[in-house]
Every structure is written in structure tokens, then in C-alpha cells.
């Protein structure tokens, strides 16, 4: 149900439209998506981001997940080795169903964003009874 919109530049590194290059890089967060009944659950990894720096928008059917990272490099230390880099997060999905915007549940804990997107009642499958004539 969730189709992804891939940003044009790079495979792993995404850059927001219109945003000028500030030297910071943007990552595509890893996600788990599953459906349970009428609810779609999206879990996105955004380590290093605090809850207030997360921005989730749903415009029509385009869901945008954004996270701004605060550098957690310790002060007064010199970098010895790096296996990962810090950067903002951005991922965009197109949802195939109409979502009940009033009942979206978003929760951020330990660097993991959990979104619960319930389908609207109109989007739920209806059983049509066939009358025998």
C-alpha cells in the first residue's frame, strides 16, 4: 500500500527539493511497514533526532517523514574513526489508501518513529451482496 518516491540525487543519500547544500547530508531512514487489519504501521529509524525535530506531513496521499539531527559529537575530543555519519533523515511515501487523518497516531522513542495510519471507513472494503433474480 505504501509506494515510495525516490529522490533524484543519489541512491542512499537524499536531498530535499529546493534545499541548498549546507554540507550536511540527508539519509533515507530504514523502515518497517506492515498492515494489521485496517491500520498501516510504519516504523522508521531516526537515531540522533529528538522528538521535537521530527516532522511528519501527510498531504493528500503523500507522506513525508523528516528528521533533523543534532550533532552528538562529544566536545573537546578528536575524531579517531567513523563508521557512520550523522545527517538528517528524509523519506517520502505515496499511500494507496485514504487515511483517516484525525486518528493518526505518531510516537517517537529511542530513535524510532512509529506511525499508525488507519484507513478511512470509505476506503475499507465493502461487501456487495449479489441478489439472485
Amino acid at each position: 500500500m505504501a509506494q515510495e518516491l525516490t529522490p533524484q540525487s543519489g541512491r542512499d543519500v537524499a536531498r530535499a527539493n529546493g534545499e541548498t547544500n549546507t554540507g550536511a547530508i540527508t539519509f533515507t531512514p530504514a523502515v518497517d511497514i506492515f498492515e494489521r487489519g485496517e491500520t498501516t504501521v510504519i516504523m522508521a529509524e531516526m537515531p540522533g533526532v529528538s522528538a521535537e525535530d521530527i516532522d511528519v506531513t501527510l498531504e493528500r496521499r503523500v507522506l513525508t517523514l523528516r528528521g533533523k539531527v543534532k550533532s552528538h559529537a562529544p566536545e573537546g575530543y578528536q575524531r579517531l574513526s567513523s563508521e557512520y555519519r550523522e545527517g538528517d533523515y528524509l523519506r517520502v511515501f505515496t499511500l494507496s489508501d485514504e487515511i483517516d487523518q484525525a486518528h493518526i497516531n505518531a510516537e517517537f522513542k529511542n530513535g524510532l518513529l512509529r506511525l499508525e495510519l488507519p484507513r478511512t471507513t470509505e476506503a475499507q472494503p465493502k461487501k456487495i451482496t449479489v441478489k439472485a433474480v
Binding site: 530504514a30 487489519g37 531516526m46 563508521e83 529511542n110 530513535g111 524510532l112
Partner: protein
């Protein structure tokens, strides 16, 4: 003798294309995981100070109860278990990119660590461990007496 003329794409490093091919193959066989995501070991960063070292690792979705840090002499080990994911028959998975299971990673440090002076914090999915050199191992300044 005529010098060998490599095609323009090969003139910098012919093995680069091999590596690119290998990377592309790995991507195909690793399924639809997001590239650059770790499957087994979390990536770590290190910083050094005068007599201390800081290690940080990104472990989103874990809680402090899921992480176990042990230090012996110059080796630090991090063991972590990703919390059980939702399961059930009524569940329809559409995408699974996040790692699961248990990992154990041991890293050799440039000096011995004082087990009494370790400060570990876990915030927003980032683990930060600050370690200090034991007092006896610290370099000592020696006074030179003028005779």
C-alpha cells in the same frame, strides 16, 4: 612498440568496474534492504581526548535494557538484542529493512580502560560510552632537576 591504449573508462583503475559490479550483485542478493544498513553489526564512531576515549553507536529502537556493555583490559564488547517485532497471522508485511536478532561486537581500544570510570548514556537511539584510562597508566610528567 605501441603503447597499450586502454579505453577511456578503464584508464584510471580497471578494477573499479569490478568492484562496482560486485556491489551491484551484492545489492541484488541482499533483497530489498536499504543499502548501507547494517545487518549484523552496528557501526561505531570513536573520539579520543587526552586520557579518555568516547565511543558512539546508533541503535535505534533499542532500550537501555537491550544493550549490554562489557570491558576487559583493552577490549570493549557491546551485545544487543533488537526487541521482538510485532508478529501474528493477521499481519501483512510490506517492507522490512530494520535489523533483527542479536549481535555481539568487540573492539580493541588503543589503551587499557578503568572499569570504574565508564559513563554510558543512551539517548534518542544513540549509545555514547565515555571511557577513561586508569590513573596508573596515564603518562607522568617527570621533573628534571638542574644540578
Amino acid at each position: 612498440m605501441r603503447p597499450t591504449n586502454f579505453p577511456s573508462w578503464a584508464y584510471s583503475d580497471p578494477s573499479m568496474d569490478m568492484r562496482r559490479l560486485q556491489g551491484a550483485m551484492n545489492k541484488i542478493f541482499s533483497g530489498n534492504r536499504t543499502p548501507d544498513q547494517f545487518s549484523t553489526y552496528p557501526p561505531v564512531n570513536f573520539w579520543t581526548g587526552q586520557d579518555s576515549i568516547v565511543m558512539s553507536a546508533e541503535l535505534p529502537g533499542m532500550t537501555d535494557q537491550d544493550i549490554e556493555i562489557t570491558v576487559k583490559d583493552t577490549v570493549i564488547s557491546i551485545r544487543g538484542t533488537f526487541p521482538e517485532q510485532a508478529s501474528g497471522d493477521e499481519l501483512l508485511w510490506l517492507r522490512r529493512e530494520r535489523p533483527a536478532g542479536t549481535f555481539l561486537r568487540s573492539i580493541e581500544l588503543p589503551f587499557r580502560i578503568d572499569p570504574e570510570h565508564i559513563d554510558a548514556r543512551f539517548e534518542n537511539g544513540v549509545l555514547t560510552v565515555e571511557m577513561e584510562r586508569p590513573e596508573v597508566d596515564k603518562p607522568k610528567r617527570i621533573q628534571i632537576k638542574a644540578s
